[in-house]
């Protein structure tokens, strides 16, 4: 469903971080992207989630080339993706209680009326108890905040989930719980997954197929 063809991307001119990389994720497939820190795998994940415009190359979603990135991408494309980042603290608005944090994408797409039902549905899946939902980010642990960030990524029922080092800062038990939540969502919806990480054991256990960065670049 997602095809990246000879993507070159970076942040400064003439110094690309990602050079001529191709990667395909089939519908319903889970792909692990394995690489050491600083290799450019997060940049590729951002391109795949339409969050970073590549310098060259093509991105095909369901066979259609994507022409616009970030806020210029059409809503139907943007909402096809759910993204979970490594650092929950940096990707959560500190002013919002977890329940509003989770419902934010619904409100942003004019579907605020679904917020209560959808939050109530997702909280048990990611393992958040009702007393946690009313707290703000500074009142919860990193693990609890990452659970909320995963719920936020799932709230619009994305067809592709991109998890960039989702569990790198977390303890083993929270990591296993979050992976189980992703897998239960995928089992019920058939969504595809691109999991980026540096932990070979984790990715090989989690994904249908794991590709090493060295093979791509």
């Amino acid at each position: 469903m997602l095809e990246l063809r000879s993507i070159t991307a970076g942040y400064t001119r003439n110094a690309p971080v990602v050079r001529d990389v191709s990667l395909t994720v089939a519908a319903g497939e889970s792909v692990g992207l394995l690489g050491p820190s600083g290799c450019g795998k997060s940049t590729l994940a951002r391109v795949a989630a339409l969050l970073h415009r590549p310098d060259s190359g093509t991105l095909l979603l369901d066979g259609e080339p994507v022409r616009h990135w970030r806020h210029r991408a059409p809503r139907a494309l943007r909402t096809a993706f759910g993204v979970v980042f490594q650092q929950a603290r940096l990707s959560a608005d500190p002013r919002l209680p977890l329940t509003d944090l989770i419902a934010e994408p619904l409100r942003a797409t004019g579907r605020g009326r679904e917020a209560d039902d959808r939050t109530a549905e997702l909280a048990p899946i990611v393992g958040l108890t009702p007393d946690l939902l009313t707290r703000r980010p500074h009142e919860v642990s990193d693990g609890q905040l990452q659970r909320a960030c995963l719920a936020r990524a799932l709230v619009l029922r994305p067809r592709l989930l991109v998890c960039d080092e989702m569990t790198a800062m977390l303890d083993a038990s929270t990591a296993a719980a979050l992976v189980a939540a992703v897998e239960s969502y995928r089992a019920s919806t058939g969504a595809a997954l691109l999991a980026v990480g540096h932990d070979r054991t984790l990715l090989e256990r989690w994904c249908d197929r794991t590709v090493h960065w060295d093979v791509l670049a």
Partner: protein, 329 residues
């Protein structure tokens, strides 16, 4: 393996250490309860547990870095000095850097961003040792860098010009300058990739085994939630849950056969991706609202009515610990 289990006088001896935070409205948060352990020279004790279990509060208590609303009880003897009752003046002048070297969680944030590694090493050498004079300081700083294999041609770089691994080595070099008998490493591997984790813990292990000037080697207390790193470096393991050390065990027996004895430790190991990869069911309890009995009972498959009473003190704080017979069955 090292001679970690030899019986010498411990470097650090913690007895009945408790930390309570007094919150507005008279609420009390029991961050650490009745911790008891020793760390010997040449030995590495790792303190493991889920995030939020009180591990880092324990480390802060040992360094006298708790916030003002914290109240401590018990003792933490470093030689003859009780770290919990020592005044700020003693802690600042004789403990931090000199008796306890801190290997920080995030080296990039621990280093001063506006100065080179060389200048930070020279400053630390001047503050902690009797070395005086520009040439002598320069030589001592270079020797300190060499101890952690920090490349000499990177000494004039600023922290942002270093990779994560080199920043970690620079921070470790600073921790070793005072030649402290106890090293305290608080999550030294968070966010590093696997190769770098392995290299970092191997280097820490080397500093533990290095006999040094005292001849006995250093003691290392490493706090981590990375179980793979703990397995690689530890002589002994302390498992912390909801502020209590629930199990204290030999690392080989803990990670290998017969395995952990406390149900929580077993569940924690089973969460690893190369084991069952199943999370510990439920969520850890609130430290401000702990049950009177065993704090793990609500999540435990062995819990019975007896678990409403506080668990027994000892190596395994559990009413129904796994015994080796269970493991064979």
């Amino acid at each position: 393996m090292s001679a970690g289990t030899r019986s010498t006088t411990p470097v650090l001896s913690v007895r009945g250490l408790s930390v309570r935070f007094l919150m507005p409205g008279g609420r009390r948060v029991a961050a650490v309860t009745d911790a008891r352990f020793d760390v010997a020279p040449g030995e590495c004790l790792t303190l493991i547990g889920e995030s939020g279990c009180g591990k880092s509060v324990l480390a802060s208590a040992l360094l006298g870095l708790l916030p003002g609303n914290a109240r401590t009880a018990g003792s933490a003897l470093l030689g003859d000095l009780d770290l919990l009752t020592a005044g700020e003046r003693t802690l600042a002048r004789t403990v931090r850097g000199r008796l306890i070297g801190l290997v920080p969680q995030s080296p990039a944030a621990h280093l001063t961003p506006v100065r080179t590694v060389r200048s930070q090493l020279e400053e630390t050498v001047a503050a902690l040792t009797a070395t005086r004079g520009r040439a002598a300081l320069r030589a001592a700083a270079e020797a300190a860098a060499e101890r952690t294999a920090f490349p000499a041609d990177h000494l004039d770089r600023h922290p942002h010009q270093l990779s994560g691994g080199l920043a970690q080595r620079a921070a470790t070099a600073l921790a070793l300058v005072g030649d402290a008998p106890l090293l305290l490493a608080d999550e030294p591997t968070t966010g590093l990739d696997r190769d770098l984790v392995d290299r970092t813990v191997d280097e820490l292990r080397r500093h533990v085994d290095d006999p040094g000037d005292h001849g006995g080697g250093r003691a290392l207390l490493m706090i981590t939630h990375d179980l793979a790193a703990a397995e690689r470096i530890a002589d002994r393991v302390a498992v912390m849950y909801a502020g209590r050390i629930v199990e204290l065990a030999d690392a080989k027996a803990f990670f290998g056969a017969p395995g952990p004895r406390h149900p929580y430790s077993r569940a924690l190991l089973q969460a690893l991706p190369d084991r069952a990869f199943t999370p510990v069911p439920g969520m850890p309890p609130e430290l401000g609202d702990l049950p009177a009995g065993c704090a793990f009972a609500a999540r435990c498959d062995r819990a019975t009515g007896t678990c409403a009473a506080p668990p027994p003190a000892g190596q395994v704080a559990c009413h129904h610990p796994h015994v080796p017979e269970d493991v064979r069955a």
